[in-house]
């Protein structure tokens, strides 16, 4: 019963079996990951986010002759402060005011928040720096931290006239008149940064 012959036999059998097993494991591991495997860093996900962001901005920027678009009204009414999402609404960073009367925030709540897409809204405008007109540093309207590597940016430019800013518009005091001699007030670039977490 306690046969001591064929020890090497057994050893060979075991090593052959182990070799085959390792190869099978390598095979399964190598074929499972492709660029289209679902993950958050997928090229299709990025193009979807670009289409979604662009649609949001296009919808908000529709205007009829004689009226401002909703996006333009939001930019004029912005008070210049940063807002963050507290799970219920966009609240002032370090304060208690909510982002009210904002068409942008209501669309973002319905589309991006409900799908769990993280987003940031930044505004870039022109400033006068020692008699040169240059673009400002990006100013955050809605902040959500640092984007992931696969974030997408969609943007839209809006032109403000002097007549838009009278009567209490241009609430933040950040956009200044870069050309007092004509009706042109400022040019604003609104950037929407989207990423999946």
């Amino acid at each position: 019963m306690l046969d001591e012959k064929a020890q090497l036999h057994t050893l060979e059998g075991v090593s052959a079996a182990t070799l085959i097993l390792l190869v099978i494991i390598y095979a399964i591991d190598a074929t499972s990951m492709t660029p289209l495997t679902s993950s958050t860093s997928n090229a299709h996900v990025q193009s979807e986010l670009v289409a979604l962001g662009q649609d949001i901005l296009n919808t908000l920027d529709y205007e009829e002759p004689g009226y401002n678009s909703k996006l333009k009204n939001d930019i004029l009414n912005w008070d210049g402060n940063q807002y963050i999402w507290n799970g219920y609404d966009y609240i002032l960073d370090g304060g208690t005011n909510y982002l009210n009367n904002s068409n942008l925030s209501s669309i973002l709540k319905k589309t991006l928040i409900s799908q769990g897409i993280a987003h940031k809204v930044e505004i870039v405008y022109l400033i006068n720096s020692s008699n040169n007109i240059i673009t400002s540093a990006p100013d955050k309207m809605i902040d959500a931290g640092i984007p992931s590597n696969n974030a997408v940016i969609v943007s839209r430019k809006i032109v403000l006239q002097d007549t838009d800013c009278t009567g209490g518009g241009c609430n933040s005091g950040k956009y200044l008149d870069i050309d007092p001699s004509t009706n042109l007030y400022n040019i604003v670039d609104i950037k929407l940064i989207l990423w999946r977490t």
Partner: protein
């Protein structure tokens, strides 16, 4: 026999090696095919397309705003055009700075509209535009003023709700019509608009709020846009003031 001299099971090991190598080769091949076929298709659409559309949109808005501002300030045609050019020049310079942030260059130029004839009453103001077009729908009351400068055949203004009213215009001159309904909103359309050119101005109430549709001229504006992938020069007629 010692362990080192044992010659049995060589074929078993050989068979093991053969199977292992066969599996590795098959795996690498299949993996490369599957990888290749599942490669991400394209990179989505080119973002420059949206930037181009945005550029056309804001240039149109700025042309209209500059025209409105220059005519409001009064003065002769030369003064108006200088005012218009000044604002457009400033706009052009500052717009380039904004677009440079995205790695694109833009340039805008425009024509002198003071000596130009008035626009046709077609949908885009050019002679090739659509002759029969609806200006606005769902109107409760309206005040229409049409100033015909050049006349080449009769054209009509059609007010249509449950009934249809056709206003026939058969000569040059300034015509004014005021209409309103109680419960039956109507639409305003031009018929055979290519036969005449001039100005029009419509104000009133539609869809629950005030509206204005007006055209004096059509200003051909040339936009140059170049980005990483697209370089283009376009000339588009913009109807001013609205």
């Amino acid at each position: 026999m010692g362990i080192i001299q044992n010659n049995d099971a060589q074929f078993m090991l050989l068979a093991g090696f053969i199977i292992a190598i066969g599996l590795v080769i098959t795996t690498v091949m299949f993996s490369s095919i599957i990888f290749e076929e599942n490669m991400a298709i394209g990179g989505g659409s080119d973002p420059s397309k949206n930037e181009l559309v945005n550029l056309i949109h804001i240039t149109k808005d700025e042309t209209r705003a500059a025209y409105n501002n220059s005519t409001a300030s009064g003065g002769g045609n030369t003064a108006k055009f200088n005012n218009f050019s000044k604002q457009m020049q400033y706009f052009n310079g500052n717009l380039s700075k904004m677009y440079a942030l995205h790695g694109e260059t833009v340039n805008i130029s425009w024509e002198n509209w003071t000596n130009k004839g008035y626009a046709n009453l077609t949908d885009n103001g050019t002679a090739n535009g659509v002759s029969n077009w609806t200006v606005i729908e769902n109107v409760k009351n309206s005040n229409i003023t049409v100033d015909v400068i050049y006349f080449n055949g009769a054209f009509q203004i059609r007010l249509k709700n449950s009934t249809e009213k056709l206003i026939n215009i058969t000569s040059t001159g300034t015509f004014s019509f005021i209409n309103s309904t109680a419960n039956d909103p109507y639409s305003i359309a031009f018929v055979n608009g290519a036969n005449a050119s001039g100005r029009f101005n419509m104000t009133g109430n539609a869809s629950g709020k005030q509206f204005i549709r007006a055209r004096d001229y059509v200003i051909n504006t040339t936009m140059t846009f170049s980005s990483n992938r697209i370089k283009t020069i376009l000339t588009i007629p913009f109807s001013v003031p609205w």
